[in-house]
Symmetry: C2
Subunit: 243 residues, 2 copies
């Protein structure tokens, strides 16, 4: 009884690891959120897929574990890394409680901070913090506190889920908070639709990012105080003596 | 004239992406730090490798770019992701200044926070910060400030380079700082030799981590206030309502 929880990277086959591919190949059934299933289905046309809508994570994990108990080898797929805001934790938790005989194997993947960073240049060469702006499961004051402390710590900051239909102004609100601490000309970047059709990216200042129309498929990068624009790339130096 | 800067993941072929493998396959010459070249050489026995010692990063990048100018397709390899404390930034910087005709392509990889996280369970399901304890290029007071602020922000914290021959007590010093803010029973984990011979991992409390003999091949994970031990796994819940 086997469940793989698989991070498949940004969505292109090239960005997937060999073990992610092998897990999917070995699986009788691949389970995931509709958008991700559509992305991955085209790479594995002969495989069986089941998709479920957003905010049904518990049901999805439960379903995948039930199918594993029935004897199928199952892959539960997540974009990026399945441990970064993904379903790895929920799978471990539910398996431990209700499906102790299922062997759950977590397969890491390239999260958007890394695949997006490579497109922008090298924004993560020094310490960094990853923060989600989604307040679906986290109170906004906690998110705001983290933004402020991450700015004070001079981390490069990567923002996941910067906006959605219901949270149109969240990117601007986050930038306003950061601008209380960080310089308006801090080098920033965005990457949209990483590894998918309609990929876009760009480098700008924090002041410009404040008015940038980020959507739910965008990942934002806010440099530390040493981050520079080199050519059209966003680059954070290795250390403070830049040796 | 082409230089790939390639993050090859933890060192096993399975943890590599298809594009990292393709870049290495396409290259006439593969350049890297001695330890990493030894790891990767066994996967590509027919390829030409050049290795250079530690702390010679500028010379290594310069050499790789010179070989690209001579007409070779070159891969400059880094473990994990080449942008996370890696050489992507230096390659962009030196190419822009001295080798403007070389096309530099950055290929992301699975960094130890992700591959190690998958081994431990799911420590990164919520916001996190990655901090290197190496003070080779960063003043210690800056590192200590970041540790404190990351603890106050209640990030899951991943520590890279927690120790070395010259910095034997750095892990203990970092834990002492964190213990001023975080609970002594905070769930922590370590992973050693990820994807290599002699892999070890374990889950313990922050108090226990204080006396843990971390070495330079170890990555440390310090949970947030919600991180739990489930079975023998380290799991951070998705959100504060844990939905």
């Amino acid at each position: 009884m086997k469940l793989y929880v698989v991070g498949f990277g940004c969505g292109s086959h090239e960005n997937m690891t060999f073990e992610a591919d092998a897990a999917i190949q070995k699986s009788d059934l691949i389970v995931g959120y509709t958008t991700y299933v559509e992305l991955i289905k085209r790479l594995y046309p002969d495989k069986n897929f089941e998709s479920t809508g957003m905010r049904h994570e518990r049901e999805r994990v439960q379903f995948a574990l039930e199918k594993a108990v029935e004897g199928l080898t199952v892959s539960l797929i997540c974009s990026g890394d399945c441990g970064v805001y993904g379903m790895a934790g929920l799978a471990i938790e539910i398996a431990e409680k209700s499906f102790p005989n299922v062997d759950v194997e977590i397969i890491s993947g390239v999260t958007a901070a890394l695949s997006g960073g490579a497109i922008l240049g090298a924004p993560l060469t020094h310490d960094f913090a990853v923060i989600s702006l989604s307040d679906l499961l986290t109170p906004m004051d906690k998110i705001e506190k983290r933004l402020k402390l991450a700015a004070e710590a001079d981390f490069t900051i990567i923002l996941y889920n910067p906006s959605s239909k219901k949270r149109k102004d969240y990117c601007a609100r986050a930038c306003d908070l950061l601008l209380e601490i960080k310089s308006a000309d801090t080098v920033c970047g965005f990457v949209k639709n990483i590894g998918r059709n309609g990929r876009e990216s760009g480098v700008m200042t924090l002041e410009e990012l404040r008015n940038f129309p980020a959507d739910m498929f965008t990942t934002l990068f806010i440099g530390n105080s040493e981050t520079r624009k080199i050519g059209n790339k966003m680059v954070t130096p290795r250390g403070y003596r830049n040796g």
